[in-house]
Each structure stands twice: as C-alpha cells, then as structure tokens.
C-alpha cells in the first residue's frame, strides 16, 4: 500500500459522497415540491414579456 493506493480509495469515497449528496437532494426536492411546480418552466416566457421583435 502506497500513497497512490490510498488515493484510489479516496477517489471511491469522494465519488460515493457526491452521489449521496445528489441523490439525497433529489429525493428531498421531489418530495417537497409538486410535479406541477417542478415542471413549470416554459421556453421563451421571459422573451415574450420583454421583447416584441419589432424593428
């Protein structure tokens, strides 16, 4: 076992940590907000308000 072997274990641990952080937040978000809110984004809404595309 040398430094590089420990680095391998550290990389696995870091990967698991990021996976847990993402999945935990994903579950929390999906259980906190309704599907209607989460999928409420609509393309071009801001432009429809601010720009009329007239010369």
């Amino acid at each position: 076992m040398d430094f590089w072997n420990y680095l391998e274990y550290a990389a696995w641990a870091g990967s698991a940590l990021f996976a847990v952080l993402i999945i935990a937040d994903w579950i929390k978000t999906d259980s906190t907000y309704s599907e209607e809110v989460l999928t409420s984004s609509r393309e071009g809404e801001l432009e429809a308000i601010t720009e009329q595309h007239k010369l």
């Binding site: 990021f18 984004s41 801001l46 720009e51």
Partner: protein, 465 residues
C-alpha cells in the same frame, strides 16, 4: 395578487451568466483538443497536412460560429440547435438534432473522464507507483464531482470553467513564448523536421486523411448556444462569447501546431498521447512541464464540465417540449438547474467511460457532431428565407450570407468523405441508429407533444405562410 401567486409557483432556469461564461463554455469544451487528439492528423499526413487541416477546420468552425451567433441571438432558449431546429425546420429535425447534441456531448464527457483516469495513472507511474494504478475510481470521481457541480448551479459551474480554461489557454501562450526563437534560439527545428520526405509523407491523400482530426481543434464551440436561456443579455453575450471563442481557438490551434511540429518529428508526434505535455518536457523548462501538465488536466475537466452542462440542457429542453417524457423537463426550485436531466445522464456517461473503447466513443461523438454541423447551413438558409432581416431583430447578423452556409455544407461533405475513409462502418451504423430513432419519434412519440405549446418565440408569421 393571483398573478403574483401564480408566478411565484413557477421555476425556470436563471439568467446569471455573462459573455465570459459563454466563452468559457465554448472554449472549455474544445481546448482539450489542443492538448491531445489533433496530433493524430500529423500521423495521417505529416506536419503540413495537419496545418492545412487546422485552418480548413478553422474556416468550417468560423462559419459554424457566425451562423450560430445569428440564430441563437434570436432564439434565446436552452437546447441550442435543437430549439433552433424546432422553430425553423420542424419537429423531426429538432428531435434528431437534440439526439445528436446529447450523444456528442455525453460521449465527449465520457472520453474526457477516461482521459482524467489515464492522466492520474500516468502521473502515478512517473511518481514511482509500482504496478498499474486502477483508473476507474478517478474516472468515476471526475464524472460525479462535475455532475454535482452542475447540479448545484450554472454560475458556479461556468465560473469554475472560466478559471481552469483561462489557465489552460495561458499555459499554451507561455509555451509558445518560452520556446519561440526570440527567447530560446535553436530550440525549434522546423527546417530539419519538416523538409524532404517529412513535408508531405503521404502526399495529397494524407491531407484528406488528416481532415478528420482537424475537427479536434474546434469540436464543441457550438456548445455556447446551450447557455442561451441562462445569459443575462443573450443578444449581446452569445455572439460576443462565441466569436471571441473561435478567435481564441484559432490562435491556440496555430500556436499548438507551431510549437509541437518544431520540437517533435512527425512519426512520434502522430502517435503521442499528450503532445503539448511532451513539448513542455522537450523544452527543458520544469515550469513549463508543471504548467502544461496541470493545463492538460484542467482542459480535460473543463471539457467534461461543459459537456455535462450542454447535454443536460438539450435533454431538458426535449423533455420540456414532451419530445421525451416531461419528467426530464424539471428545474430545481433552489439551484435552478435541469437537475433530473443532469442525474439521468450520469450513469450513461459512466457506462460509456468504463465499458466502451475510447476510440469508438470519440468517433461516435465526432459523427454526431458532424451530423449537427450539416443541419446548420440548411437551418440558416431557411431562417433567412422565412424570417428575412427586416422581420426579426437580431443581436448579430453574419456577413456574406449565403456564402458561409454553402461553404459549411461543402466542408461537411469533404469531412464526411474523410471520415468514411477511416470509419465507414461507424458512420453507416450511426446513420442507421438515427433513422430508427426518427421512426420511433414519428410513429409513436410525437403524439405526446403539445404541438401549439412548443413554438414560444414571439416572432411574426414566417414569410410565405
């Protein structure tokens, strides 16, 4: 009050980015191509062939950048070319372009993660580690860390990209300055390394074969369009960031070629895994070795990071329009990112990176990109025809239309031929896959699309309709 309450319950992507972030997204995805990959063109046709391929592809991508800048400054929505195709050409084209984007970026992300593993493995070997270091944990870590960063917010993601991309670009400039004849006389040996048989070892056919790898210098600059829904001023920032990006890349590509072919014979350079790092080692400067070593890692991470950003925006946009299940069209209420699209693409990238051979991943990524470039000139011609200059306000109007579109189409045809010479089976397999996917979309999926809701730009009716 009812209006305010309704608005408060809506979540969308955040407009927080500036032109520097657009530059970092485009150049960040591409710059790894200067650090590795382009040099296989030298192996195909020698140093001059690689230079001709570099400038040939430079013209192709300048056309891409100009066309994209004009259309995207008007279609300021996530999805980039997918959204352009939806508004300008039609649903089937949009579905295909969306798939090209997702596959091109996800496979490129996987190739970058694989490269991170390879770099750590190489450094481990150089540092005295006995035996072969397992690269899997570093591949997985690179993908998981960057996915987490993308999940948490676009501003932090692309600010990170800006810093590491700028570092990698400055490293190339410093390599040139510290090896140039003025500062290191006699170090670069262009005359000796590029004369006689070495000039064009395989003649004109070698130049054609090198074209395929000329794309490496710029592949991915069109990714700037995916930031369209998250930049503060799309009409200004997108053209500015994209055109500054292509200028940066032409400079970086030419300097990379100049230094590398002046230090290494074409036979070696044509097979080198990390040509710029090798050039730094040959310069004799330990500072350059460190700079280019870190630059290689940063360029690789920046590319993977930008690819996650772009692939997820394309997937998200298709979900939002119900081209895919609408579940993918969700935005995180706090971080304002397309979090489900980001999560969904993680296992796919891991699968590509851990299970498929690198050359196959890269080839399929390039082929998907090339199919996308073929769409662009057709898109541009239709855009100008349906919405002439006096009908829609554009943030940027590209000059000499339709010459760039026709030039791009002609250059794509040449590149298809070059790709067919080396990867004919993959090209046919890829086209077959997209035909099957198109049939699925046409015969099944399109019934779920809300046809009226997908065209959201407040544009006038197209000319002739």
């Amino acid at each position: 009050m009812a209006e305010v309450s309704k608005a408060a319950q809506k979540v969308g992507l955040l407009r927080v980015l500036g032109p520097a972030h657009v530059w970092a997204l485009g150049v960040g995805i591409v710059l790894v191509g200067e650090y590795m990959g382009w040099n296989f063109g030298v192996g195909k046709g020698g140093a001059y062939a690689a230079l001709i391929a570099c400038w040939f592809a430079g013209v192709l991508y300048t056309c891409v950048a100009m066309i994209d800048s004009e259309v995207t400054s008007t279609v300021a929505a996530a999805g980039g070319q997918y959204t352009q195709a939806k508004h300008i050409v039609g649903p089937l084209m949009a579905f295909n372009v969306g798939l090209y984007l997702v596959f091109a970026y996800t496979m490129l992300e996987a190739a970058n993660a694989w490269t991170v593993g390879f770099l750590v493995q190489t450094v481990g070997g150089l540092a005295g580690h006995e035996g072969t270091l397992n690269d899997d944990p570093f591949i997985v870590l690179a993908i998981m860390f960057l996915a987490w960063l993308n999940y948490r917010g676009v501003l932090a993601t692309l600010t990170f990209n800006l810093v590491i991309t700028a570092f990698a670009f400055v490293a190339i400039i410093l390599l040139f300055l510290m090896t140039a004849p003025l500062t290191a006389p006699g170090l670069l040996q262009h005359a000796d390394l590029m004369s006689g048989q070495a000039a064009l070892p395989y003649g004109w056919l070698g130049i054609l074969a090198a074209m395929h790898f000329g794309l490496w210098y710029y592949l991915g600059i069109e990714g700037t369009t995916q930031a369209a829904e998250e930049v503060r001023s799309p009409a200004r920032s997108l053209p500015f960031g994209t055109l500054a990006g292509i200028m940066t890349l032409v400079i970086a590509a030419t300097l990379t070629w100049y230094v590398s072919v002046g230090l290494m014979p074409w036979e070696y350079l044509g097979t080198a895994g990390t040509p710029l790092f090798d050039a730094a080692r040959l310069s004799g400067s330990s500072l350059l070795v460190w700079l280019l070593g870190i630059g290689t890692l940063f360029a690789t991470l920046a590319s993977a990071n930008g690819c996650i950003n772009d692939a997820s925006r394309a997937w998200f946009s298709m979900g939002r329009d119900h081209y895919l299940p609408s579940w993918f069209g969700a935005v995180h209420p706090r971080y304002r990112t397309p979090y489900r699209a980001i999560i969904f693409l993680v296992p796919i990238a891991l699968l590509f990176a851990l299970k498929l051979p690198l050359d196959q991943i890269i080839t399929f990524s390039i082929l998907s990109g090339l199919l996308g470039y073929t769409f662009m000139p057709l898109n541009m011609i239709l855009f100008r025809r349906k919405w002439p200059l006096d009908s829609i306000k554009r943030g940027y109007v590209h000059p000499f239309h339709p010459i760039p579109a026709i030039l791009l189409l002609a250059l794509c045809a040449v590149t298809y031929f070059a790709v067919f010479l080396g990867y004919g089976t993959q090209l046919v397999a890829m086209v077959g896959f997209y035909i099957v996917a198109s049939l699925w979309f046409h015969l099944w999926r399109y019934r779920f699309v809300n046809r009226g809701a997908q065209f959201t730009m407040p544009w006038p009716r197209p000319k002739g309709y």
